[in-house]
């Protein structure tokens, strides 16, 4: 059983900052987390089943992909990615694009 640690706003949605969830891979744990807490559906994984671009998933102290194997008592941290600052960085790049200035259109 893995220990899933949630940060705001996920912990408010789940009603807890730490949950025990079964699963042998990161994806299995997240899927079971969603099944147990439907209010989290769509928050961590997108419709294509990928970890959202601006969400960070760590297995113990390492950033992890969905296929990563999970052992008993492993800790899975799910948190918003740090994406402030440079325009080339994550959310800000997307925000830069959303401001209709800049690149010619289309």
């Amino acid at each position: 059983v893995a220990v899933v640690k949630l940060r705001s706003p996920l912990r408010e949605l789940a009603g807890s900052q730490e949950l025990s969830v079964e699963g042998t891979t990161v994806e299995e744990v997240i899927r079971r987390l969603e099944a147990g807490y439907p209010q989290l559906s769509g928050w961590v994984l997108d419709e294509e089943g990928r970890i959202r671009e601006h969400v960070g998933v760590f297995l113990n102290d390492e950033r992890a992909g969905l296929e990563e194997a999970v052992g008993d008592r492993d800790r899975i941290h799910i948190l918003p990615a740090i994406s402030g600052g440079a325009a080339s960085c994550g959310a800000n790049a997307q925000e830069a694009a959303r401001i209709e200035g800049g690149a010619p259109c289309p």
């Binding site: 769509g42 294509e48 969400v55 997307q94 959303r98 401001i99 209709e100 690149a103 259109c105 289309p106």
Partner: protein, 376 residues
């Protein structure tokens, strides 16, 4: 459908506005939703905030139910929330999200629009898709007809992504819909969205090589609205052009060239719901600049279906004012005389209680404004 000049909605001007009337305006910003309250068209204060620190793309109130909606984009994906009290708790909708086999994910939710039937709403998202709710916004379902349009694989995004930002409905003809997509043009349906066809005749994409324009489908519609009192009249702000359709979006007539506009590029557009001959645009310098021309903030009004445009400037900054006003950041309150509001990326919101004849600063120093809608 017979396209006759008939009233299709209650005439908004039946609701006369008194000079001291109070108003509520919803302002979406990069740092949350601001609920403004105060005298109509004049200075307002922040009655409350929601979604602090998070990008609120769009917010509106459905006048039928009184329910408020907000489209919010944060690290955990785009969501729609609803509430009956914008200063209270908000509830997350179920969707909009693509089915798992769609092979795509919703990136942003650009617009939410009331439908015809009770409880029905529409939402336009990026990548360009239309969603429908039949339960007052609690859940949203993908319009499969447009999603499966065979030409979709060839659609191109604009600079803001491939977004559906404009949805037109016909209250007397619920089967009819029109949507605007950047940069996939206008799409029309006459069977409640089961099938779609293009409605682009007359639009000229000057950003394309001349020889490629006639067959162009990469059409960057920036904004599109139907005149509530005249079902066949639509107005469009194009990438570089302003157009009017007299046949419900089948064909388009240039009303932006040589008619008094300093630029026919822009995003914001409002149609006077009391007068199908009247529309407002806020031109911006085109190409990569996209700010108010000549450092002057001007709203341009036509009262003759676009034959001529007149600048409305009284009360607006007329020197060293280089503002960017985004496509959803210009709105009316439906009353008579018409109340108008627009917000800028510089955090200012301006308002008028007399159809644009005079303007006031509603509020300053907000976060960059993404949307403005009147809720009362």
């Amino acid at each position: 459908m017979s396209m006759t000049d008939v009233l299709t909605e209650p005439r908004p001007s039946d609701v006369e506005a008194s000079p001291d009337e109070q108003a509520e305006v919803l302002v979406g910003t990069k740092k949350g939703l601001f609920v403004l309250r105060g005298g109509r068209g004049g200075p307002m204060s922040v009655a409350g905030r929601a979604f602090e620190g998070i990008l609120v793309e769009f917010a509106m109130r459905d006048p039928r139910s009184g329910r408020y909606f907000a489209s919010v984009t944060h690290h955990f994906g785009p969501k729609i929330y609803f509430t009956d009290d914008p200063l209270g708790e908000w509830t997350q909708s179920e969707g909009p999200a693509f089915p798992e086999d769609a092979g795509d994910s919703v990136e942003r939710i650009w617009v939410i629009r009331k439908g015809v039937e009770d409880g029905m709403l529409w939402a336009g998202v990026a990548p360009a898709a239309l969603f429908r709710s039949e339960d007052d916004g609690r859940s949203w379902q993908l319009n499969e007809g447009l999603w499966n349009e065979p030409s979709r694989k060839d659609w191109q995004p604009g600079a803001g992504g491939m977004c559906m930002h404009s949805i037109c409905i016909w209250p007397d003809d619920p089967d009819r819909l029109a949507v605007g997509i950047s940069a996939a043009g206008v799409w029309l349906s006459e069977d409640r969205g089961k099938s779609w066809r293009r409605g682009n005749t007359g639009i000229v994409a000057r950003y394309l090589p001349e020889e490629a324009r006639a067959s162009a489908v990469d059409l960057c519609v920036h904004n599109m609205h139907r005149a509530p009192l005249q079902p066949e009249t639509l107005y469009m702000q194009f990438h570089d052009g302003v157009y009017r359709s007299d046949d419900a979006g089948e064909t388009w007539n240039d009303i932006g060239s040589d008619s008094g506009l300093p630029s026919d590029f822009g995003f914001p557009m409002v149609i006077d719901p009391n007068d199908p001959d009247a529309a407002y645009v806020i031109p911006l310098v085109g190409a990569g600049d996209r700010i108010t021309p000549e450092g002057r903030v001007r709203v341009f009004e036509t009262r003759d279906r676009g034959a001529s445009w007149t600048a409305r400037t009284e009360g607006l900054p007329q020197g060293d004012a280089y503002l960017t006003i985004l496509r959803q950041a210009f709105a009316h309150d439906g009353r008579s005389p018409l109340g108008l509001y627009f917000g800028a990326e510089s955090g200012e919101v301006f308002g008028s209680a007399d159809g644009g004849a005079t303007w006031s600063t509603v509020i300053e120093h907000l976060a960059p404004v993404t949307s403005v809608r009147c809720s009362s």
